[in-house]
Symmetry: C2
Subunit: 226 residues, 2 copies
Amino acid sequence: MNKHLLRDMEDLHREILSMSAIVEEMIDKAAQSLRGRPGELAAEVAEADKIVDRREVHIEEECLKMLALHQPVAVDLRRIATVLKVNNDLERIADLAVNIAERAHSIDETPNFPIPRKMEEMVTLATQMVRGALDAFVNLDAESARRILPLDDAVDRLNCEIIGELQTIMQSSAKLVPAALHCFSASRHVERIADHATNIAEDVIYLVEGDIVRHKHDVARNSRTQ
Amino acid sequence: MNKHLLRDMEDLHREILSMSAIVEEMIDKAAQSLRGRPGELAAEVAEADKIVDRREVHIEEECLKMLALHQPVAVDLRRIATVLKVNNDLERIADLAVNIAERAHSIDETPNFPIPRKMEEMVTLATQMVRGALDAFVNLDAESARRILPLDDAVDRLNCEIIGELQTIMQSSAKLVPAALHCFSASRHVERIADHATNIAEDVIYLVEGDIVRHKHDVARNSRTQ
């Protein structure tokens, strides 16, 4: 890699990491909003999302500029193409954090709704996955990326348990159905955050090892999730 | 555009259209599976998904090859970058069709479950959006792409109506809760197909006019959907 491309690539990584830090904080706040103060936190998460949207557009522009300016080939080209994908995944994760905070706000209309305890565990795991996948990407560390993949199965299992619990709640009390449906949606949003983190991890493995794992993992994923 | 790049670009468009034809058929079959024979149709949709997965990887490779070989700049570069995104959206739409067919299979475990009638209307609209967005992309027709955007709002409204209907079903009969939840998921999957079609339409507008509409539309979208 020539030194100009190297410098631009380092800038790009810094921008992706900085965007990721905002996105991780959004997930944290979305998780907090399930425990209390949902109105306030939903507004904060929505505000952060505007920043992420602008950053996504900016990073995409930077990638295209780098392609035009340096005309990279082979692994350098693939690396920039991967930034484009990771950028897109991060932006969608941010949207999901917004959705979770909105659901928390709606759940709050039913005072004392019993949000399943596992929800917290699932959000923590999903956040770890996002952070881990981004670190693996910046360090080009396929081994760390591979360690992310089984966590997605753990998230899927937690999601299934939460859905089971919500189903029982809905069957036992008709008046809890609306809040339970919001909670069901929130749980699905968390699961999708984990899916996006998995996409990033799979892209890192492909970038480093040339092994396309994404669709091998998909089959297992599709057959298990709701 | 030089003639070699032009020829490769035409090949790429053909491949994207051919992949899109498979994906549209998958959505049709997923929609049919909500009306009957879900087991059989789910297997067919899953089989088609394997082809789509392979095509997605192939098209991505082709795009990277074109970037390395022709080193395009300006609008040509942006066009290839857009193919990368459209390719990704199509693959995700295919995954959602698989998920819908799986949900139909699960709903079928509750005989005579009353699937809301609007579901069919929503699937038809989502399929039209996918087809329209792809045509707009291949013809670089921003005007047609703009006509796709309001359809997403119509899909969101139908989704809300379906969710309301499902909520009533769940509140009136505890034993219908599991099937209603599967139907709720299927409805969300259809809505996400429409979101991906919207992404494609927004990318076309940006490609042709340089106007970034994606996040302007997001705000309205996030505030309305469940």
